[in-house]
Subunit: 140 residues, 6 copies
């Protein structure tokens, strides 16, 4: 009998979408105003979902306080009030980092959390860039 | 590695639930106040979800501006500030149209969007008739 | 020591904006797609706010169950699943009714509630036509 | 062609997390402030999701009024304005009841609803303990 | 030139409405299911609003981190995961405490915060007992 | 008889809080992580509120399409997907601009809108930096 537990978190960050090997014109054409070289930013909301058996003693799939602490250490402390392109290594463009689209960010978050979640549990992450644009990834 | 991208849209429309071959009494019995012949209406919210591989160049499953434009042309321009029973052909009761329940509307939306989405991508649609009543369809 | 108590309610209704003495062209020019003769509709949310002294015995400004019942009888039963232009007398255009704009609706709601609220209490009403368009009236 | 219909409901309840065979110290260590012997409480939100074929006559997977009534009788009348540990038999600790964690509550809700839903339909339940902590169960 | 700054906080608590000098029957008659002797509970949301001149150096009416800390110490640490009737002195019924209605709680919160806010600033507090029932108090 | 009409808009922007004449240490001490030299960002929500008499012909205080257009031209086109410190003149620190705190931004928005609103109408603006931190200004 498997239950999914979900915990919401959030961080505020600056970013821009661009590929360093493309000209400014091509970046503007593909990414529009999201390629602004001066950056823009978002209040990102994250929902982390862990699926597994309910422990008969505690009634927990996983202690939510523990999940909250993992999200704080692995995600909020790394992303909050940061410039994703400049300060988060996975997206550092001068070191062939990923373009910080929502799709790439949600995969990076999933990979950072996966080692800290019980191996017998499934993990999925949903990332809201705005209330109208959001993405999700379950490792598949 | 597949990611789901989601985009929210909305439209305001009038409708009534009824079957033309039934008497007014039977329509009232089955559909209650939703069968009011003078119509009532809703602020419909729609979430369109597209699942596929992340493009290595752009970092996109699909360009959200393109998805936004498809939703505008195929859904918002057709449904917004309209009377679903009178003005949307799929629900036109004098031409044996469907009863505009949430279930039938969400399937119609899915069918209108499907030809415009990359064939290798999966499509799902969620339609909120009110914040407390909503439906979803993934083609299955 | 005055406290304001607030109660949210909602109703779903159809309407159109138009003035019967104007031509269709002029109605379209002034009211845009809101003048569609086939109607469109909304999930209206209403917040009713009553300000007054806190009763020392009960700790209430006003019993919220009583306020909930007044809103049900005076507003929800009259407006919910109705066509405002056709079925609510204040907006009946064939009888020189008001144009059912949010501004006119919120004033009508306030006037319908006022006689049922203690005279020593202040009354304000906020009406959401959509999450992004809303109006308020306090009788002033 | 299967569609999922969803209905939201809610109830306000008190509870505490604890295991009667553990000492107060161990309960505090495992459950933190949630083990407060004087109880605390929540506004619980519930989303009930039913998946099935759309009826060709009505355009319904299931009549939402009927689903609303089932939720009222089976869930809201039993849980609303109650102390889960003291007044809901499944969680009565003096009778070896379950610990009222979100995980255990969502499974109990699912089991109480399942017999009232058409056997050919799938059932899933999501329970929000707070806007940031929520759980879901689909019987699997 | 005065600006209002607002900060949201929340706490989860149990309570019951009743007056110790009334019989159980009268309490039930006046307070309905809210008088359940076993308690029920809520996720309370609080918005604290401070109005004053904008400091020319910092651009702040008041440092939001400082306001957040005051709310934590004075409100969240005192009310969160507590039984208001049993554990918050202002509402302790065996010591002629106030009935913990939303009205009385919002006044108590205002009085607890007022000494910690600059005297030249105005203070208002809004308390949500549920998303549909809320109260506000500005000291007036 | 005055009614208030409200319209919500939003923009996504990057910013940092700092005073150019202060050392990095003092900026960090006063503004904390909000002073990060690489910037961070927000999804800002804005509510614009206009109070005035209801026009007897149209039933409008002000045409909401006109208000929407003013907000787009004066606010969204200027602030959306921009770096407030680098690209919005009022906050340009190399030209003794204001520190882009929420308080200063809401006053700038009010001043940019005021000339475009009928002189006999009152204007108020609320700015959400996050769902938990927001400010409002009515010119007073």
């Amino acid at each position: 009998m498997k239950v999914t537990v979900n915990r919401k978190a959030h961080f505020n960050a600056a970013h821009r979408l661009f590929r360093p090997e493309w000209s400014d014109e091509k970046n503007l054409e593909v990414f529009g105003k999201c390629s602004n070289p001066h950056y823009h930013g978002h209040n990102y909301d994250v929902t982390v979902s862990v699926t597994g058996q309910v422990d008969q003693k505690t009634g927990f799939v996983m202690d939510m306080k523990e999940l909250k602490d993992i999200i704080k250490t692995e995600i909020e402390d790394v992303f909050d009030h940061k410039n994703l392109n400049e300060e988060v290594p996975e997206f550092n463009s001068s070191a062939s980092g990923l373009n910080p689209t929502s799709e790439n960010i949600v995969v990076v978050i999933w990979k950072k959390l996966r080692p800290h979640i019980n191996k017998s549990h499934d993990l999925a992450v949903t990332l809201y860039e705005t209330p109208r644009n959001f993405v999700s990834f379950n490792g598949g």
